[in-house]
Symmetry: C2
Subunit: 387 residues, 2 copies
Amino acid sequence: MIFSPEEYVRRIAKVRARMAEAGIDVLVEADPANMNYLTGYDGWSFYTPQVVVLAMDGEAVWIGRGLDRGGARLTCHMAPENLVAYPDHLVQHPTNHPMQFVAEEMARRGWDKGRVGINDDCFTFSPRARDTLEAALANARLVAVDLLVNWVRLVKSDAELALMRKAARTVEGMFAAYYAHMRPGVRQCDVAAEIIKVQVAGTAEGGGDYTTPIFMPVGEQTSASHLTWTDQIIAPDQTTYLECAGVHRRYHCPLARTIHLGPPPQKLLDMDKAILEAMDRALEQVRPGNSCEQVEAAFRATLAKHGLKKESRIGYPIGIGYPPTWGERTASLRQGDRTVLEPNMCFHMILGMWQGDWGFETSESFRVTETGHECLAAVPRGLKAIV
Amino acid sequence: MIFSPEEYVRRIAKVRARMAEAGIDVLVEADPANMNYLTGYDGWSFYTPQVVVLAMDGEAVWIGRGLDRGGARLTCHMAPENLVAYPDHLVQHPTNHPMQFVAEEMARRGWDKGRVGINDDCFTFSPRARDTLEAALANARLVAVDLLVNWVRLVKSDAELALMRKAARTVEGMFAAYYAHMRPGVRQCDVAAEIIKVQVAGTAEGGGDYTTPIFMPVGEQTSASHLTWTDQIIAPDQTTYLECAGVHRRYHCPLARTIHLGPPPQKLLDMDKAILEAMDRALEQVRPGNSCEQVEAAFRATLAKHGLKKESRIGYPIGIGYPPTWGERTASLRQGDRTVLEPNMCFHMILGMWQGDWGFETSESFRVTETGHECLAAVPRGLKAIV
């Protein structure tokens, strides 16, 4: 077990408090990050339906595919009778669906009535899953309680922060590999391989893990936000950026930096200067009591002074993540988001400036402290010229 | 562009034929593998809603987040007016949803009536996405046409097979790294790092790519199917298996093999013998005209002679994949699946035997030929003892 039993007890108590507020009797949670948060379950099995069911008392119950029960036994903290497997003929079948089984198991436990909370906007809970559950739970009412557990995850415990700090050490190593291997004449995939090797190995203090892949565009590709790498040979005098995360036991520390392979053009130097100044102003606004939109407003105002603007949000909360995202999907550092910052919330402030045929990125993963902020990773923030 | 324009024309013609059969006027496709198949679009952007909309004539239309339009421009083959971006304030917002924008864009093109096909059991199309689209398309009827494009993908073109063969060369290299680095006294994550380094770099003939992570359990962890790796130090006299895929430009070649670190125990030798024999019998049944269930029946009958049985399916089709799965989610090699094999279908036959506290895996990725089958990767099939 990665955390003490008490850590899970505290998490579940917080989730139940929110369930009570929302008038929810039973929560059916399909998001793998939330399942991990509630039970410790960790397996790459979320391509088939699986859930954690949490009622207002008793242990949580994991329900998944038969061949994944072994993984649940090795990673969850619950009693064996609360690790329940459905048979394999339900998997990817034209007419059967695992949610039929989930409903039957809920009925067996008396959890097939009242208000059943579901996530209505979750990668791992399809329309067909909801339809099947709804039809099979004739006496219950399904209620969308999107992100209920995600909001509880927003404030980190000290035990969680310790894992994120280990992830920060890994991401520092990934940038060292980027700076060491990104050179003209090399294939993009060969540079990416060196960086990801560090991501997976981690450091001597803690191993690395899988996550969303690294984004490492070169040249015109930097004008796009979510390209990974290709096998093209890197040309000289190109801009490239790396956005990636160190991960330790599913906890993330993302980071982004930009390189120019040669003497940087003036427009890139100007962008670097503007963004670093705007980032300073934004980070100064990070303190308990301030809102997400206040942080973004400071960024935007500073950027405007430089004649620049950015349409997309500048950050999101981080912690546990499973592909396809390491973001927690709750608050956003953007206009209109009045979420109030509290100590031990953690965000990735990511400043991506994608222009017509070029781009620039820098970022910091930070913790909200009692009085301000603490950047998790220590990598010099500015544009790096490799000449 | 990875493929010729003619390749996309052929794909779209096949998809439209199936749309006509299903009485569908417009297809709204959210599965990233299907989006890639129809347009070439390739970006790690599927954690926010995005679709390809295909009517019965004209070009397909990509609709995605503003900051991903740059990636669409660099990877898709369509005209700029058919790459449509929605504004960022719709992303992960409590009340707005990108599907409102998708519906408006469809209306603008006159595609907001008739029967609109959607995928109802897809990772990237949530219940909320469907609800929003349904409400916004008041004059249309949403019809679930799950896996319509996936079924077209089942038979590969020669151009696709060429990419899968490059992926096969990469997976061979990954197993060479596994055999070279898997040793007692080393951390699991350090072995995984060496294997994934090869996965990302690929070979001199073609670069590697990201995918679902490698599964590399050691010891008791082999009793589970979807554990990846930890930072534990590998003990002597343990069983370990590796299940992973080589990838080239999103095309996959998965493979699995088992190692014992020391002289293998008799039960493992017996399992190896039984599975290899059963695999031979199953592969003998692979030929055009035979069904998926015939292949599985030959496996099961042979296994029974050895007093063994396997509950889960023994294979699935492969080709384009995005995490969380490299499977195509259509046919399964299992009882009751009467899908008839045709030349150039490609499957991963994966024989995972998860016992109480140990396990064994071996597999082959194969192409159905005119007369039988062709294994894509060349890695000796049996248990490997490293002493």
